[in-house]
């Protein structure tokens, strides 16, 4: 983009922001940055411009860049959940393309700012990640590149296993204190409190049961390793905490992909329709929009499905059916209001469960396909089953739920993990390759219980070799 185009873009953005505010969108201050393709793809691969270095990001970068070079796919923008909000635009985009992207980005920023699941995310993550990356760089200098890389390989293998739930954030982490309270061995509040107990019948002194670590199954494997592993150095604990914080930051984005992209697509359409465009600009805009919402036979395009659901919500709440008016007292014309309410409270799984209707499933021709023998076949089109499968796929961000059952298994300091099986098996090869990483972090033998062909099975790795046995 040349100087002149940037000036034009500036004018358009002013206009678009005015329109967006008029629609009720509420966003942070915006920092638009125009950068060349390889930089945009770097940011795309790392998820954040300032993130630490690791070869796996290089691998992602290479793949994305290659797809771009071959014209297979294209990232138009990257927007960061931060205050002020950073948005990176592709230098190679035409003016009209970047206009669309800016409109799109404004809605993303509104979503970041107002969806309740983002409420706890740090808005200074750009700086935080830069500081973490700097520390990790320091560890490379102090302990050697190879050592840090080896540790990152292991830590990244378990990075999804955190507990992002609201309740965990409020729950105090001091197990010991809680356990003491539960067993009633608290200190008496006043020196005379124990007098009350003299009236109670004399109890057999119960043998204290062995303290379990964790007291109840713990979902946050990364935190558990940080707190209880006996082999980690301080710098390694620090890296784990960096990864955990970054995953907590990214988590709501994983959980609201369809909503967020649908929301942004809905608004870029509305905003662009209000703009004065030249006829050829309209054509280019329409073509780009059509590309963005192109449905796919083998995956769910979040732009396409999200947009359809949002428009359906608007339609149904603008003109509610007679029954809904009677029973729930819905008034017509509440479409936008309802949309803003939904964007504030839901995530993808509740969004799909509540608003993916029978009519929509049929209209979008949504289906489930699966491998049957040597073929990938459509196996389900029933709307409820499709909807339920879509919701199930999104449980825990699409990652398997792994709980720490016992940090002292067999009274031998071994780590016992359990996969909460809900009908989908784990990739066995990957389990066997991941356990050594867990072993590296735990320092003692590790076990993972899951279900294979309907039978519970235990995978173990003792530091030398892996084994499996049916339970």
């Amino acid at each position: 983009m040349n100087r002149q185009e940037i000036e034009q873009l500036e004018k358009s953005i002013e206009q678009m922001m005015e329109l967006a505010r008029g629609f009720g969108l509420d966003f942070y201050e915006m920092r638009f940055e125009i950068c060349p393709a390889d930089i945009l793809y770097t940011f795309g691969a790392y998820g954040m411009p300032t993130r630490f270095s690791h070869w796996s990001f290089g691998k992602a970068f290479r793949r994305m860049k290659m797809q771009y070079d071959f014209g297979l796919s294209r990232i138009y923008e990257l927007v960061i959940n931060s205050d002020p909000c950073y948005a990176f635009l592709l230098d190679g985009n035409s003016l009209i393309q970047n206009k669309l992207v800016c409109a799109h980005v404004l809605a993303h920023c509104d979503f970041f700012k107002n969806n309740v699941h983002f409420a706890h995310t740090s808005r200074f993550m750009v700086e935080t990640m830069a500081a973490s990356a700097e520390r990790i760089r320091g560890y490379e200098l102090a302990y050697g590149k190879a050592a840090v890389e080896q540790f990152l390989d292991a830590a990244l293998a378990v990075q999804e296993h955190i507990d992002p739930s609201e309740t965990s954030r409020r729950r105090p982490r001091d197990w010991e204190a809680r356990e003491e309270r539960r067993r009633g061995t608290e200190r008496p509040a006043t020196p005379y409190d124990d007098l009350w107990e003299l009236d109670a019948p004399v109890r057999e002194e119960a043998r204290p049961e062995p303290r379990r670590v964790p007291p109840r199954p713990e979902k946050d494997l990364v935190l558990f390793l940080m707190e209880h592993s006996r082999v980690l150095e301080d710098w390694q604990r620090d890296i784990l905490s960096v990864l955990r914080d970054e995953m907590l930051y990214f988590w709501p984005q994983i959980e609201t992909k369809i909503m967020n992209e649908g929301w942004a697509t809905y608004w870029h359409l509305r905003i662009m329709r209000e703009m004065d465009l030249e006829p050829d600009e309209v054509i280019e805009f329409s073509r780009m929009h059509a590309g963005v919402v192109l449905p796919s036979k083998t995956s769910l395009n979040p732009y396409y499905v999200g947009l359809a659901i949002w428009e359906d919500i608007e339609k149904r709440w603008n003109d509610p059916p007679e029954e809904a008016r009677r029973r729930f007292g819905l008034r017509p014309g509440q479409g936008r209001a309802k949309m803003f309410e939904v964007r504030e409270t839901e995530t993808d799984s509740s969004f799909l469960r509540n608003y993916l209707t029978k009519e929509l499933v049929e209209e979008l021709n949504l289906y489930l396909y699966q491998k049957v023998g040597q073929e990938w076949k459509i196996v389900e089109t029933d709307w409820e089953r499709v909807r339920d499968a879509l919701c199930a796929e999104r449980v825990n961000g699409g990652f398997p739920v792994i709980l720490v059952q016992d940090g002292d298994y067999l009274r031998n300091g071994e780590l016992y993990l359990k996969h909460e099986y809900e009908g989908v098996e784990l990739d066995v090869k990957y389990v066997e390759k991941t356990l050594p990483y867990v072993h590296q972090l735990w320092g003692r033998p590790v076990h993972l219980e899951t279900v294979l062909d309907g039978r519970p099975i235990l995978f173990s790795y003792d530091g030398k070799k892996g084994s499996r046995k049916f339970l």
């Binding site: 796996s56 449905p295 076949k377």
Partner: protein, 386 residues
């Protein structure tokens, strides 16, 4: 700044290299993996059968990012149809349907690829493979045909080409002269100060070498045996042509009688019949004496067979090989013997016991790499028992 305001900027990003640096580290790991997989890679049919022009997909498992994940093939996935999709429609066969698509920003990137595949060109493999290989015992011979000319800057003179001016020495001269005059410092460079780098031509005589590639094409050589022998010679030829400017290669195919064949014939022709290895050795010996005299040539006869030689011929073989060894730098004998049959030829050769005689037993594909290392290393490699 009021809330909801904005800035647009366009910085110079040319120094931002992080993505490329990590990409480079990833590439390093790929190369490491190639090195580890070399033994399997070089027998890859897609290379041998297409004359090495292809890019091969190399499964590089160590570069997977392992984590606990669901089994992709055992769960349903969602898709969107054009309105007519119904249960039972087939979306794809065997190979999984293309994950993700090019639909705009953030195109889908599903998990599910079983292993990470790297595209490796044959050059990359050669780069790693040929690094440690060389023709052993190469001796200078008279009438150098293989000649490498090189230039070496090794002298400094007062006259020369101005492009080759030696700035550092010139300045030093200026400093010295000025200091002697009592006005230290760099000023007024006089023509007398100028120094020029000059070079001389270096002629590196390298010696003539001929490799006599002999291969058993008798009926007893099965598909596997022929494939192993051809794979070995395929890399041998590429190795010699890559690393040496001029090495002659003579292809000899034999069953009960031997003849010199063209390269194309050597690699493609199938033959049948019995096996008399001495025929090839006899031919080799005649060739050495007539066309490649030892005083002018380094001679490397290498023979591949399944060891299933006519028993009465073995003594003659040993005698001929002894005579060849007197003339050549090394003699290589590779026996493709998948099932470890007792081989009469190999046991007959055991008696030779000359350091110039190198032999290797090839039991499976991975041994081809060992064979290359055995025949083309400066000192004989201890053979791997396993």
């Amino acid at each position: 700044m009021t809330p909801g305001s904005f800035t647009i900027s366009k910085e110079d990003w040319s120094l931002h290299r992080k993505g490329f640096q990590d990409q480079q580290r990833h590439q390093e790991k790929v190369r490491e993996a190639i090195r580890q997989n070399l033994a399997d890679l070089i027998t890859e049919e897609s290379i041998i059968m297409t004359d090495g022009k292809q890019i091969v997909k190399v499964p590089i498992r160590s570069l997977d990012e392992y984590r606990f994940r669901f089994n992709y093939e055992k769960r349903p996935h969602a898709g969107t149809g054009d309105g007519k999709a119904k249960v039972g429609d087939v979306l794809g066969r065997e190979a999984r349907p293309a994950p993700g698509d090019g639909a705009g920003p953030g195109a889908g990137d599903q998990p599910g690829v079983d292993y990470y595949e790297a595209d490796v060109s044959v050059e990359e493999i050669e780069d790693v493979l040929f690094r440690d290989l060389e023709l052993p015992n190469l001796l200078p011979k008279e009438q150098e045909q293989m000649e490498m000319t090189d230039i070496r800057f090794n002298d400094v003179r007062k006259k020369g080409l101005s492009a080759n001016i030696d700035k550092k020495r010139t300045i030093l001269e200026t400093l010295k002269r000025n200091a002697m005059r009592g006005q230290p410092g760099i000023h007024r460079i006089s023509p007398d100060d100028l120094r020029y780098k000059t070079w001389e031509d270096v002629e590196q005589p390298t010696s003539n070498a001929v490799v006599l590639a002999m291969m058993d094409t008798s009926g007893s050589m099965g598909v596997f045996e022929k494939y192993m022998a051809r794979t070995f010679f395929f890399w041998t030829v590429r190795f010699l042509r890559t690393k040496y400017q001029k090495v002659e290669i003579v292809f000899i195919a034999h069953h009960t009688e031997a003849k010199v064949v063209s390269e194309a014939e050597f690699f493609t022709k199938g033959e049948s019949g019995g096996t008399i290895c001495s025929s090839a050795y006899q031919l080799a010996l005649e060739l050495v004496d007539s066309e490649y005299p030892v005083r002018r040539w380094n001679v490397y006869p290498i023979h591949f067979s399944d060891g299933d030689n006519l028993s009465s011929d073995n003594d003659r073989c040993v005698q001929l090989v002894r005579r060849l060894i007197d003339r050549c730098n090394i003699f290589g004998y590779g026996e493709v013997n998948q099932y470890q049959r007792p081989s009469t030829l190999m046991s007959a050769f055991r008696a030779i016991g000359d350091p110039k005689f190198r032999s290797i037993l090839i039991r499976d594909k991975a041994d081809v790499y060992q064979a290359l290392k055995t025949f083309f290393s400066p000192v004989p490699v201890e053979k791997d028992a396993s």
